[in-house]
């Protein structure tokens, strides 16, 4: 029997500073460790603890993975101290990913803001790999200010794709910004898809997810077609420790991706 509590050893190959509080870590696991977009990993610094993160790299790259992490507490403080050559632990993949095959033949909308861009990047790679199987592909993203955008070079590349309708906004602009200003829901009105059948994926801070969900409902997207990437306190990651319960579900095993109709009736989903 395998031990679901033990981590696989991995080496930090590269650390990229994205913003003053966000870094991306390129990791090389000692054993093969693959994941699907939307699944998460428990990332540990030996002795300092473990925390759940969704990888931010292309899931088709098999020998390494990238994880993008905001510094918010004890474990992430220790993670931010990591240097190339350091040893870390990875446990996973955990949870269910995005059911991309269910999106085949449909229009796909991706709404992702702030640090939610990290998992969105993995998802976008997944969608690009299957691009010819979807109808229209739309991405709407936002950040508090232009400095907070992660993966700028990639965002610029995506902007140039003619098979993607993409727009970015910021809550507060600056001299470098000549795009729209406002929360992400303000750049959703010109989306031109078949809302009745479209699949929408929302990933970002809870407040953004909440209002993006309401906006999608208003536009006519069905609750059962709104895929939310939920953030709950996940400790074990395999449905035993009880921390991440949402009604009859555990976020770690039944999610972290849920359709809105599954969870809309339960309290505290946006917190």
């Amino acid at each position: 029997m395998k031990n679901p509590y033990s981590s696989i050893e991995a080496e930090v190959l590269k650390v990229t500073t994205e913003t003053p509080s966000i870094k991306t870590f390129l990791l090389k696991p000692k054993e093969e460790l693959t994941f699907k977009p939307g699944q998460f990993m428990e990332f540990s610094v030996p002795g300092s603890g473990e925390a759940p993160f969704t990888p931010s790299s292309d899931s088709q790259i098999k020998d390494t993975m990238e994880i993008t992490i905001v510094k918010v507490g004890k474990v992430t403080d220790a993670i931010h101290e990591l240097k190339p050559g350091d040893t870390v632990g990875l446990r996973g993949p955990l949870g269910k990913g995005y059911p991309l095959t269910k999106f085949i033949g449909q229009d796909v909308l991706v709404i992702g803001g702030g640090v939610g861009l990290a998992p969105v990047r993995t998802l976008m790679y997944g969608l690009f790999h299957m691009r010819d199987q979807f109808s229209r592909l739309v991405y709407r993203g936002g950040c508090r200010n232009p400095k907070e955008f992660l993966f700028r070079k990639e965002l610029e590349k995506w902007m140039k794709r003619d098979d993607l309708d993409m727009k970015l906004t910021v809550d507060e602009g600056d001299a470098s910004w000549n795009g729209p200003v406002g929360v992400v829901t303000t750049i959703m009105d010109d989306i031109d898809v078949n809302f009745n059948l479209a699949k929408a994926i929302v990933c970002g801070p809870p407040i953004m997810m909440k209002f993006a969900t309401f906006k999608l409902q208003e536009l006519g997207v069905k609750d059962s077609n709104i895929y939310l990437s939920m953030e709950k306190n996940m400790s074990c990651g395999f449905g035993k420790c009880g921390h991440c319960r949402i009604g009859p579900y555990y976020c770690c095993t039944d999610g972290p991706v849920f359709t809105y109709d599954m969870i809309r009736e339960y309290p505290g989903i946006w917190e």
């Binding site: 029997m1 509590y5 709950k232 420790c241 309290p267």
Partner: protein
């Protein structure tokens, strides 16, 4: 059915200490508590009611090392537990924990091993405690399933029934210790069962606990009620109700470096404590104490009935006895039923 004298049963337990860590209930004033059976140790008492400590502690340890360095091996490697005198409510507790922890794909390896290799010698209740309400959650005060061997106390020994192949094998290989039971003995245990059951039913009725098939409905109906605020007023967030509960299974993983090695511990956690559901960003879906109390009831009386088709409360009343704020689960349930 077979009968075994107490002296012979002592012998049987002694013979089990080779293969098992045998835990026996011992009298501690008005209550019983479990500890390990020693050599030539016959100083135990099959208590009238459940022990004060929950039996989960021998399977799902309060603090246990579950992983070391990056090795995939399973750490705990000692004799499996044999629990003597487990009551019907305790066995129900195992049913809930089994549902949570046993899973071929991704179960808790040490719990599964202890359950698979362990031995349960249960016993009928011979009295009803002040906080007992098992009948209100559909349990009879005598074991009916989920045991290997059951003891029904009679004058100078026990009437023995088997509940599993492991139990039958144990009796078979110790045949000489048993004699056939008499009709009079069977009558005694039947009478005891009836008396204890009536007594628990009476006390549960006095507490006005909603009938079991309404429990889930009242929790859902009163979800937004002020009762939760009111009931949580005396809670001091000590988590005693969680640690003492035979079905509470929540834990947290904690990493430590000791002697240059990485060790991961699984430690009991409490859903009543403020940061239980708090996420790294700082948001907390159950920021208020009453929300956490409501969540505890929701887990036992709504979540488990939905996913397991069983109430997640055993009616053992340990949480009532343990609560320093004197919060009584029976009273809270009674208040939820609008009359």
């Amino acid at each position: 059915m077979l009968f075994i004298k107490r002296g012979k049963f002592d012998q049987l337990l002694k013979s089990l200490t080779g293969d098992y860590k045998v835990y026996v209930p011992r009298s501690m004033g008005d209550i019983t508590g479990y500890s390990l059976l020693g050599e030539s140790d016959t100083n135990y008492e099959i208590g009238e009611i459940r022990s004060f400590d929950p039996l989960k502690s021998f399977y799902f340890l309060g603090r246990e090392k579950v992983a070391e360095d990056f090795k995939p091996n399973i750490i705990r490697d000692d004799k499996p537990p044999c629990i003597v005198g487990a009551k019907a409510c305790d066995l129900k507790g195992f049913r809930v924990l089994d549902f949570v922890f046993i899973d071929d794909e991704c179960g808790d390896p040490t719990y599964m091993k202890a359950r698979e290799n362990g031995l349960i010698i249960s016993a009928d209740c011979t009295g009803s405690g002040e906080t007992c309400f098992c009948t209100a959650v559909d349990i009879n005060p005598w074991p009916e399933s989920d045991f290997d061997v059951n003891l029904s106390p009679v004058d100078d020994g026990f009437i023995v029934t088997t509940g599993s192949d492991k139990g039958s094998d144990l009796i078979e290989s110790n045949k000489s210790l048993f004699t056939p039971s008499t009709e009079a003995q069977i009558e005694v245990i039947q009478q005891n069962r009836n008396t204890v059951k009536s007594s628990v039913i009476k006390s549960a009725k006095e507490c006005r606990i909603p009938v079991s098939d309404r429990l889930r409905r009242v929790i859902k109906k009163q979800y937004e009620s002020n009762i939760w605020k009111d009931a949580s007023e005396d809670c001091v967030e000590c988590g005693a109700c969680n640690t003492i509960c035979p079905t509470c299974h929540c834990f947290l993983l904690y990493d430590q470096k000791s002697d240059g090695r990485l060790a991961r511990f699984r430690i009991w956690d409490s859903c009543m404590i403020h940061d239980f559901a708090r996420v790294a960003g700082g948001d907390n879906p159950r920021d208020r104490l009453w929300m956490r109390l409501r969540n505890r009831f929701d887990k036992k009386f709504n979540y488990f009935p939905e996913v397991l088709k069983e109430i997640g409360c055993t009616g053992c009343g340990r949480c009532i006895a343990a609560c320093p704020g004197k919060i009584d689960i029976r009273e809270v349930l009674a208040r939820l039923e609008v009359r």
